[in-house]
């Protein structure tokens, strides 16, 4: 009996009255204690079970709704690997392969069910490079594509608010209006290939590379667009990859990693480049000049480049190399004044008196007056792929305004064609020295006592 009393004390001490299953402690036994403890435990277990069941149901629902996200990596998060709008070739979709499947681009044996095709490099269904206007990517990135008809508008349309034109990548590169005969221009794919081939600079590209892959990793490239096309603009997606990271950081997209303060690994936006050269970035107007919409999103904010990939670093990856005739651009503090070079008025003693183009909105603001140095993005003025009737890949829509087509003689020898560009951001355009290129251009300086001054 003393033993029983001990157990009763235990019950009194550890069990709440409302949980007691045994009220007559005279009959308490080890078994009854066990039952009582089980009762307590089961009350909590039930709650835990209910909670975990709800969580499990939620996860299952997510898995049903977004099956591909359950284990998605760089490819499944890419535009090509998207299960809705990813790659989908008629021949291979005819065999039942899902949208986004590798087989839509790569045929591992160049043969499916006895239907053979010519095998091409990378196991692609077509040659990755024949010539500028005949290459693998155009089989789909072409408004009249043989396999798919994917529309990708020019940068100035997607991120500048320009009305629709040049609906495909193919057209931007290969339309007659992108050729020199019409004062047009296009990013020349031949020197791009030549610049990167054979593991040049240790970047890891093969011989005979796909020129598109210099800027775009087809397995990671993401769809991004502006309000007009793929709203909403999402700066955390990016279609570009740094050429210099092709081998050593191949899955990294350029422009998607950003954090305020631009810490290491999170400084892929233009705001970070601008601050690295002690300057600031101001987004150009988007669509019009009312001041309510800014590039690249078409939103009113941000305007500091925190939503824009660092296109300067991106472009300079190649445009800091002089090989294969690549135009070298100097954009740091000792380079062009549109870049990190302080863009103060030209004042060089005996040569003073040069006229200066004043700034237009949104650049004529307090930041400028406070002495901040604006650092432009290459894409503020240039198209990445092709420019319709404009040389030097110049956009047809800058700072919210249209730029007229270039006319013969093409731009470099026609002051009016230049003015049409410059006055998108400047007033008081001067012509007293003749053609603009006499003094202005990338890497152009004028001699001043004690040094030179960049004029562009």
């Amino acid at each position: 009996m003393p033993d029983v009393i001990k157990r009763s004390e235990f019950m009194k001490k550890y069990l709440k009255n409302n949980r007691r299953l045994i009220h007559n402690f005279k009959f308490v036994s080890l078994r009854s204690i066990f039952y009582a403890l089980c009762s307590m435990l089961s009350a909590h277990v039930f709650k835990l079970l209910a909670l975990s069941s709800m969580l499990l149901a939620f996860l299952i629902l997510c898995w049903i709704l977004y099956p591909d996200k359950a284990n998605s990596g760089p490819y499944l998060n890419s535009a090509h690997g998207n299960s809705i709008y990813g790659v989908n070739r008629p021949r291979t979709s005819g065999f039942g392969y899902a949208v986004g499947n590798c087989v839509h681009c790569h045929e591992q044996h160049a043969s499916i069910a006895g239907q053979t095709i010519t095998p091409y490099g990378y196991e692609l269904f077509y040659d990755h490079w024949v010539e500028i206007c005949d290459l693998f990517c155009y089989r789909c990135h072409n408004q009249g594509g043989v396999e798919m008809q994917v529309n990708n508008y020019p940068y100035s349309v997607n991120f500048g608010g320009e009305p629709l034109f040049y609906e495909s990548i193919y057209k931007q590169f290969c339309d007659l209006n992108s050729t020199g005969s019409t004062c047009g221009s296009r990013h020349n794919l031949v020197p791009i290939r030549n610049l990167i081939d054979n593991n040049a600079f240790g970047w890891g590209y093969p011989a005979d590379p796909d020129p598109c892959s210099a800027c775009h990793n087809p397995h990671t490239v993401q769809r991004i667009g502006s309000k007009q096309y793929h709203a909403p603009y999402n700066p955390d997606k990016s279609p570009i990859s740094l050429p210099s990271e092709h081998a050593n950081n191949p899955t990294n997209l350029w422009g998607d990693d950003y954090q305020v303060g631009c810490p290491l690994g999170k400084k892929e936006r233009l705001i970070c480049y601008a601050s690295s050269v002690v300057g600031v970035y101001q987004s150009p107007y988007y669509g019009n000049t009312t001041g309510t919409m800014y590039e690249p999103s078409g939103n009113s904010t941000p305007t500091d480049g925190s939503d824009l990939p660092d296109y300067v670093s991106f472009c300079l990856d190649c445009h800091s190399k002089s090989e294969t005739g690549t135009k070298v651009i100097h954009w740091d503090t000792s380079g062009d004044k549109h870049g990190g070079k302080i863009s103060g008025d030209v004042d060089c003693g005996a040569l003073s008196g040069f006229e200066n183009g004043d700034l237009r909105a949104p650049y004529n603001d307090a930041l400028k007056e406070a002495g901040n140095n604006y650092v432009l993005s290459c894409t503020d003025c240039h198209e990445p792929h092709g420019a319709k009737n404009r040389t030097d890949l110049l956009r047809r829509f800058i700072n919210g305004e249209a730029v007229p087509a270039d006319t013969a003689p093409c731009m470099d020898s026609d002051v009016n064609d230049w003015i049409a560009i410059c006055e998108r951001c400047h007033t008081n355009i001067h012509v007293s020295f003749g053609n603009c290129t006499v003094c202005h251009g990338h890497n152009t300086s004028i001699g001043c006592p004690g040094g030179t001054t960049r004029t562009f």
């Binding site: 099956p67 591909d68 359950a70 284990n71 998605s72 990596g73 760089p74 490819y75 499944l76 690997g81 299960s83 065999f95 039942g96 392969y97 899902a98 986004g100 499947n101 590798c102 087989v103 591992q108 044996h109 160049a110 043969s111 499916i112 069910a113 006895g114 053979t116 095998p119 091409y120 490099g121 990378y122 196991e123 990755h128 093969p206 005979d208 397995h219 081998a247 191949p250 899955t251």
Partner: protein, 347 residues
């Protein structure tokens, strides 16, 4: 004490039955398990098939059955009759062996005609391909298990081998031969080859991967040269254009960018491939060693080798083109799951 000893002896006996017998590869047991003197035990000649004993015809070598007859079952089991590997079940096999299972191409699984090799006696000739193996030239007849038109035994496709048309004659003696590893890939003694595949080396798993675990599995022979003793070369005997060394520069290429997916090349040591270090049964690799005895769970980028069986089953699988995983799945994660074993950054 006696009881304890008795129990220990019993336990040992049970263990012997469970674990020792399966290690015995050479056929053992009563002759009548496989042979019949007159094929006339009943009123008419009888034959053992996947349907059991049925009226049939006398078989060569006094056998009670053809290849298919013995290596098939009406159950879902895949190692039966002592230690016979079953490659054709009439029920969905619970644990298909390494080569896969012809169940997936049979009329019992009507959607799977393109899921495997269409062996005569199991299926009609491939309705799309006829007698032409993809990447090769016409066999001139429907594919069989062995012989001139088959994979096992003397098919005449190794240099120095002469084809034997009869399926039984083509593997004559193999079931009674000594197949103790290491198997040297003999052209004269079929038993001295991996799975009686003439000229091919490799090491068989005790249960032919029935347990599907990376701690014990077949070790396939691969090579980064034009060796003819690899499992992929066996495939290339018919599908030559798909093999790096048989297809050559014009069909597969010699380096990246490859024209077709290479086989019998080393898994690259660099980039995304370097992350494949744990042997994955979804997309296994071959070994360059004749008789690999290292850790079966290891994969050595830069050393181990891509093979046809990295992606395909030899016999048939539940999936289109006998891929080891459902490459046609509508769920992209699943469809790419096998690719991602090597292409680790393409998930």
């Amino acid at each position: 004490m006696i009881k304890i000893v008795t129990k220990l002896v019993s336990l040992f006996a049970i263990c012997s039955l469970l674990y020792v017998l399966p290690l015995e590869a050479k056929v053992t047991g009563a002759c009548s398990n496989c042979h019949t003197m007159h094929s006339s035990q009943s009123s008419a000649p009888q034959e053992w098939t996947e349907k059991g004993w049925i009226p049939g015809t006398a078989n060569p070598a006094l056998l009670v059955a053809t290849c298919i007859g013995c290596h098939s079952s009406t159950t879902a089991g895949t190692i039966l009759y002592g230690n016979t590997p079953i490659v054709l079940n009439t029920l969905t096999p619970t644990a298909p062996l390494a080569g896969g299972n012809f169940y997936f191409i049979t009329p019992d699984n009507a959607t799977g005609h393109a899921n495997g090799h269409n062996i005569a006696g199991i299926d009609v000739a491939d309705v799309t391909l006829g007698f032409i193996p993809p990447g090769g030239t016409s066999l001139g007849s429907q594919l069989r298990c062995s012989g001139t038109y088959g994979c096992h035994g003397h098919n005449g496709r190794q240099s120095g081998d002469s084809a034997v048309e009869d399926e039984t004659q083509a593997i004559k003696g193999a079931h009674h031969g000594d197949d103790t590893p290491p198997l040297e890939g003999s052209l004269t003694d079929v038993a001295r080859n991996y799975r009686f595949l003439l000229g091919i080396k490799g090491t068989e798993d005790d249960d032919w991967e029935q347990d599907n675990t990376n701690t014990s599995h077949n070790e396939y022979k691969g090579s980064t040269s034009s060796a003819t003793d690899t499992i992929s070369y066996l495939c290339a005997e018919c599908h030559g254009k798909f093999h790096t060394w048989v297809g050559g520069p014009s069909e597969v290429g010699t380096a990246s960018p490859w024209l077709r997916h290479p086989t019998d090349i080393a898994l690259k040591l660099t980039g995304e491939y370097s992350a494949y270090t744990i042997y994955d049964m979804t997309a296994p690799v071959a070994r360059p060693e004749d008789n690999y005895t290292g850790d079966p769970t290891n994969v050595r980028p830069g050393t181990d080798i891509l093979m046809c069986l990295s992606c395909h089953r030899a016999h048939a699988s539940p999936f289109f083109k006998m891929v080891r995983w459902d490459y046609k799945s509508s769920n992209l994660s699943e469809a790419l799951s096998g690719c991602n074993v090597c292409h680790t950054s393409k998930n």
